[in-house]
C-alpha cells in the first residue's frame, strides 16, 4: 500500500485550472477521459472508488499471472487517470455518502457517468449536491440521457457509435456497417463533457450560479455526423465512401513492406498534376481519363493501380515525404509502434515518461491542450487504489487518525478492491 503520509504533490499553480476541485465519480473511459483533460490543465481531480465499485479498467492489464498490485498496473487505467488523486469511499454506506457530501461542499464540480438511475439510488442527485454546495456544477454522462423512453438502456462506447448512425456510414463500400476499433463514443463524450463543464464554470463566474449539465453520450456522437442529418433531409444518400472522398483522388496504398500503407489525397488539378509527376507519370494530368475532377472519380480504380505500383517501391515515410515536398497531402498510416517512433511527435515532445510505484516506468502521451505560456505536463501518475485516502480524509476533511482507522474497519474505505467484481 502507498505511504499513508504521502505529501500532496505541488507544481500545478501556474496551470489554467489551478484552484478548481473536481469530485470524480466516473469510471471506465468516457468520464475519466473527460476529467483527464481538466486534470491535465491543473484541476484537482479526486477520483472515488470503493472495494465493490472500482474502475473496471484496472482489470484490463493483460499481465501474465496476477502479480502483486496488478490493479495498479493496467496501462489503460493509468493513461486515463494520470494527474488525478484517488480515494476509496463506499457511497452505498451512510458514512461514505456523508463524507462524499463533505467533499462536495469544498468542490467546484462533480462528474458522474453511472447508469441513469444510479445516482438517484445513492441519493446524490443534483439537489442533494446543491444542498451541500449551492453553486456546484454537476456533469452527468449517461449513455441515453436521464429522460426519454429508452433511458433505462445501457451502452458502452461501441453501442453509442452504433446508435448514433456513425457505424452505418462507416465501412468498405457495399460491405455493410463497420465499427471503429475504439469505443469511440467514450472519448467523444468525455471531450464534450469537459468543455461543457468549462462553459458552466464561465457561467458561474458571471452569475454565481451552478448547474446540472447532462451529456447523453448517444446525442453527443450525433453532432459529429450532423452534415448527414441535414443531407438526409435534403433527400441525399448517406452511404460510406470508405477511404475515398467525394471530389478528391484519395486512398491508402500499400508500400514496399507488406501491410505498411501510405494515405494520399489530391484534390485540385494542380495537386493531381503534382501527384502524377511525383509518381513518374506526368502524362496522366493530360490523359482524358484523369484530366479533370469528374473523370478522375470515374476512373479512380485505374488510378489506384498506377499509384500502387509506385508506392510499392518505397517505404511509407519515403512516399509521404516525396509527395508532401511536391505539394500533395500524404502521410504514413501509422501502426502503433510506428506512432510511438514517429519523428514528428518525437520532435514535439509528445511522449512523457511517467513512473508509478507498482507499475514502474514507461512513456505516455502528454497533454494535448498545449498552452504556450502555461504548458502542462504529467505531474502525477494515476492513483493507486486508495492512494490518497490519508491526504483527503485527514488534510481536506480534517478527520482524526482514529476516525480514519474506523472507516477502514467499517469497510467505508478500502485498501484492496474486491476482485470478484470484474472477473
Amino acid at each position: 500500500m502507498p505511504d499513508a503520509n504521502l505529501q500532496r504533490p505541488t507544481s500545478n499553480d501556474h496551470l489554467p485550472l489551478h484552484g478548481i476541485r473536481i469530485l470524480d465519480l466516473t469510471m471506465v473511459w468516457a468520464g475519466p477521459s473527460g476529467t483527464r483533460l481538466l486534470a491535465d490543465m491543473g484541476a484537482e481531480v479526486i477520483k472515488v472508488e470503493s472495494a465493490r465499485s472500482w474502475d473496471m479498467l484496472r482489470s484490463l492489464h493483460f499481465l501474465t499471472g496476477s502479480p502483486h498490485g496488478w490493479w495498479n498496473r493496467a496501462a489503460y487505467f493509468n493513461h486515463n487517470n494520470r494527474n488525478k488523486y484517488g480515494i476509496t469511499l463506499d457511497l452505498q454506506t451512510e458514512r461514505g455518502r456523508e463524507l462524499a457530501l463533505q467533499l462536495v461542499a469544498t468542490a467546484d464540480m462533480v462528474f458522474e457517468n453511472y447508469r441513469a438511475d444510479v445516482i438517484g439510488k445513492l441519493r446524490l442527485n443534483y439537489d442533494d449536491l446543491r444542498a451541500a454546495k449551492p453553486d456546484i456544477i454537476l456533469v452527468s454522462m449517461p449513455s441515453h440521457g436521464k429522460s426519454g423512453p429508452e433511458s433505462h438502456h445501457v451502452a458502452y462506447g461501441t453501442n453509442v457509435e452504433q446508435l448514433s448512425g456513425l457505424a452505418s456510414i462507416t465501412g468498405y463500400p457495399g460491405m455493410g456497417p463497420h465499427k471503429s476499433p475504439i469505443a469511440y463514443g467514450d472519448p467523444n463524450a468525455g471531450a464534450i463533457a469537459a468543455a461543457a463543464a468549462l462553459a458552466a464554470l464561465h457561467h458561474r463566474r458571471e452569475t454565481g450560479e451552478g448547474q446540472h449539465v447532462e451529456v447523453a453520450q448517444w446525442e453527443a456522437m450525433i453532432g459529429n455526423i450532423g452534415e448527414h442529418i441535414l443531407g438526409h433531409q435534403m433527400g441525399e444518400p448517406t452511404e460510406s465512401l470508405g477511404n475515398r472522398h467525394i471530389s478528391r483522388v484519395q486512398g491508402v496504398y500499400e508500400c514496399a513492406t507488406a501491410d505498411e500503407w501510405v494515405a494520399i489525397s489530391a484534390g485540385s488539378d494542380a495537386e493531381f498534376a503534382a501527384l502524377a509527376t511525383t509518381i513518374g507519370h506526368p502524362e496522366l494530368a493530360h490523359d482524358d481519363r484523369f484530366a479533370d475532377v469528374i473523370s478522375r472519380r470515374h476512373h479512380h480504380d485505374e488510378l489506384d493501380a498506377i499509384i500502387g505500383d509506385w508506392t510499392r517501391t518505397r517505404s511509407q515515410d519515403e512516399a509521404a515525404h516525396e509527395l508532401q515536398a511536391a505539394g500533395v497531402s500524404a502521410t504514413p498510416v501509422l501502426k502503433i509502434p510506428r506512432l510511438m517512433e514517429n519523428e514528428h511527435l518525437r520532435a514535439r515532445g509528445f511522449w512523457e515518461t511517467v513512473s508509478s510505484a507498482d507499475a514502474g516506468t514507461w512513456d505516455m502521451e502528454g497533454p494535448v491542450w498545449r498552452m504556450s505560456r502555461t504548458p502542462a505536463h504529467i505531474r502525477l501518475p494515476a492513483p493507486m487504489f486508495g492512494e490518497h485516502n490519508q491526504w483527503v480524509l485527514r488534510d481536506l476533511l480534517g478527520l482524526s487518525d482514529d476516525e480514519i482507522a474506523a472507516l477502514d474497519a467499517e469497510a467505508v474505505t478500502a485498501r484492496e478492491p474486491n476482485l470478484g467484481v470484474h472477473s
Partner: protein, 398 residues
Amino acid sequence: MTPPLAGVRILDLTSGVSGPWCTKLLADYGADVIKIERPGVGDESRGHGRFPGGVPHREKSALFLWLNTSKRSITLDVATPTGRAIALRLAAQCDAVVTDYRPSEAQRLRLAHDDFAAVNPRIITTSVTAFGQSGPYADWLPTNLTSYATGGQHYLTGDADREPLQNGGYQALYQAGTWAFGATLAAIWNAREAGIGQQAEVAGQEVMAAILEIYLPDYAYRKSEALTTRRGNFASATVGIYPAIDGYIGIHTMPKNWPQLVQAMDAEWMATDERFIDNRARLRNDDELMAQMFIFAAGVTRKEAYERGGRFRAPISPVNTVGDLLESEHLNARNFFIDIEHPAAGTMRYPVPGARMPSTPPELRPAPLLGQHNAEIYTNLLDLMSRDLATLSAAGVI
C-alpha cells in the same frame, strides 16, 4: 436565462470542418462568433454539399449549414493589408481568435499569435491544425484522411486481410474541433482569472493518438504488439456488430454484463456451459461464442434485440441509419432535434449541442449568409461609415 458563454466574443478565421466545428460549439453555447469569410467565395464547406437535389448552391451546403449555426458572417480578405488591419481591429475586441493556419500560412499572412497579442495582450489564439505549430510535419498539407492516418486509428480500422479503413464522415477533423473548443474555454478562463493571454494549440494527430482506447496504452506499457492489429467488426465475440433480420445490431459486453447478456439472448444455458463459465473460458472459446452470437442476431430484428437489451440491462444496440435517428421516439421525446429556418435552405431539423445545459439553454440561429452581418459588425464594432463599406467592397476587401 442566458446561454453559458454570453459575453464571450470570438474571431473565427477558419474554414472547412475542424475550426468551424470548434467555433460552432462556442457560438451555440452563446459566444458571439464573428466568422471571417473570403469575399465572393466564403468558407470552403459552402462548396462541399450535400445540396438539395444535388444542385450546388453556396447557401445550401449541408456541411456549411451544420458547422456554422449561430455565427455572424463578414466578408474580409485578410491577405490584403487593409483586410489584415481590420482583422486586427476586430481581434482587439475579442476574447479569442480561432485559426487553422499552418505556421507558414500564419507567417505569410502575419496573423500569428504575436500579431494578435500586439493589439490585445490578453487574447487567446486557438490554433487548430492537423500537425500543430512545430515539428517536421507542421507545414504538411492536411486532410481528414491524413489526420486519421497519422493518429494511429486508421491502421486499426477495418479487416485484417484488407486495407486500413477510414471511419465515416470527418471524424479526425471533428475531434480536433471538439478538443479545440475545450482548450479555448480553458484558456479564456485563465485569461479572465489570471490575465494571461496565450496560444492554445490543438493538433489533430495528437488528439487522435490520445484516444486510442486500450491499444496505445497497452503497447506503450507492455511493448506487446498483441493489440496493434485490425480486428474487423469484432474486438471479441462479445464486442462486435452482427447481422440481424432487418439490418445489424451491436453488442458490447464486459464480464460484469455477462449474466444480463445471456438473459437478453434467452440463452441462460450458456451461463452454466463449461466453455463460457468465466471470462477466461469465454476468451478461450471465442469462436464458439461468436457462433452463438451470430445465431442469436440472425433470429431477431433490430428492435427486438434492442428491447431485450433494455429489459435485461444488456448493452445491445441497433445499428441505426441516419433516417432512423430523425424518427427515434427517444430522441424526439428529448427534443433533440429542433427546427431552424434558414432564408435560403429552408427549415430543417438540426441536432441540439451534445451537452444539455437546461438552466442556461443555447439559442441556435441559422448559419449566416455570406457576408450577412457586414453592415452591423463593421458599423457597430468598428465605427465604419456605410460609405467606407462601399470603398472596401469596391476594392475587393469585403
